[in-house]
Amino acid sequence: MKFGVITFPGSNSDEDAFLAITDVLGQECVKLWHKDHDLRGVDVVILPGGFSYGDYLRAGAIARFSPIMREVITHADRGGPVVGICNGFQIACEAGLLPGALLRNASLQFVSELCRVRVETTETRFSNQYAPGQILRLPIAHGDGRYTADDATLDRLEQNDQVVFRYVNEKGEVDPSADPNGSMRGIAGIVNERGNVLGLMPHPERAAEAIVGSADGVALFESLLAQVGV
């Protein structure tokens, strides 16, 4: 399976994603530049973490207008998989690929820690290699991660089983005190209605080997491979 990681000015997790895909998964991965007009035939697009365009105006607001985003939107419209991680989630929301927005953390503090998230559905092409309700340890590192949407949108996400990950406490329960950024309904990651675009604030690519503290992120990428039987 061929992955493509897009580098925007200010991306900082593009190399981590590249290494997780090539070294850990042993898959092909091409580096794409934000000014490119061609996805070079990739099957999966990764919008990586970082601070594209310095987070000027709003996180992800300017990256959304990078030339390559036109191709990414076309790819997504055709049903091609897209994974937006952290800043990539913000970009995907700004681009209208996912509903809602990521606002300043409720604490006003940048959070960098290993958090707990619960797998809410395994019926997606990004989570089919997890067990239902599995608790993952994934790192987060963001200042603008508070998932926000109106009640109708939140209800629709829940009804359609589009919430993939939620922040939970040690007991595996959704708990405002275990929600690192004040996200509505504890939401850490969602898919679009069609199920081909995933956005999440935690960093699965930085949890790809036990030596860095967790390998719980690997199954997210393996889920994509399982989908096509690679």
């Binding site: 709003r58 929301c93 509903p99 927005a101 606002l103 006003l108 508070r146 926000t148 949407a149």
Partner: protein
């Protein structure tokens, strides 16, 4: 064509948690401004643009807000002023 200076306010939508506004409100209370009920922190942009008339300059800025400057999910905007630049 003339040059117009259009000022626009963009603020977090009322009802959404605005932690910056809340922090500022708390600081104002601690300074004794006890009448403060709510603070929202937003952005103020001043845009100089060429347009045939002030109405079209304002229309263009509204379009900019809808497409880029404001997030329709979380923010409201209002044109604060239009003047000859």
């Amino acid at each position: 064509m003339s040059r117009y200076r259009v000022a626009v306010h963009i603020v977090p939508r009322r009802g959404l948690l605005d932690p910056q506004g809340k922090a500022v409100a708390d600081a104002l209370h601690s300074l004794g401004f006890n009448g403060v009920r709510d603070v929202r922190v937003g952005r103020h942009l001043v845009i100089d643009a060429d347009a045939p008339e002030p109405q079209s300059a304002e229309r263009a800025v509204r379009d900019m807000c809808a497409k880029l400057l404001a997030n329709p999910v979380t923010e409201d905007y209002e044109i604060a002023n239009v003047e000859q630049a």
